[in-house]
Symmetry: C2
Subunit: 109 residues, 2 copies
Amino acid sequence: MAKSSSCAIEYTLSLIAGKWKTVILYHLFHQPVYRFNELKKLMPDCSQRMLSLQLKELEKAGLIQKKVYPVVPPKTEYSLTKLGQSMLPVIKAMDKWGLDHHNQLNKEP
Amino acid sequence: MAKSSSCAIEYTLSLIAGKWKTVILYHLFHQPVYRFNELKKLMPDCSQRMLSLQLKELEKAGLIQKKVYPVVPPKTEYSLTKLGQSMLPVIKAMDKWGLDHHNQLNKEP
DNA sequence: CAGTATCCAATAAGATACTG
DNA sequence: CAGTATCTTATTGGATACTG
């Protein structure tokens, strides 16, 4: 984000680049609300730290929102904002492309 | 690409992540063939080195192909492969989203 | 024209331990 | 439960100069 992008697509990419952001959005499209540890379980290869960072960046980008319940033990809920929901076509297109072209997936005997 | 992705969308992202890849694809959708320096001119903020690297990765991913003419001075042409063309919905969705939501673009007086 | 080579800076990501 | 802190490594990107 150092330089302003000169191309629309660059801007879009800047918001969803990062190893886990699209995956997080993907999950939130399939279930509207997730807690931190639920997401963690869905993404076993994503460390707690990375999940935390990526959620923060998505929140900063305005794509997701976080609701914190002041209870003990803590409870937080992540969900898509309106803006995040508008990303659905992008996520869908990427998911479809991956399903169509990633031969290593869903090819178990 | 160290670990195999467990999610289709992760795979898609892995192929188009990188600061300039989607932009290159975007241009190749609007004009089927480009030479190295033509792309360079379209992307003034992308260094020659980066352009070269990103083109190489796109080629390795099978999304673009390169035709080299054995002439002096050298002439190369880059174009989308069939696989690259199949990425159109993804690029289009990202472009549209950027146009719709990046307020800093196309707002000059 | 279409790149490489080299060197360096910045950023992203991983591992592990700790906490309100 | 939902994170931080710290340290380290890996990857990416940039500047500049050079070449077949």
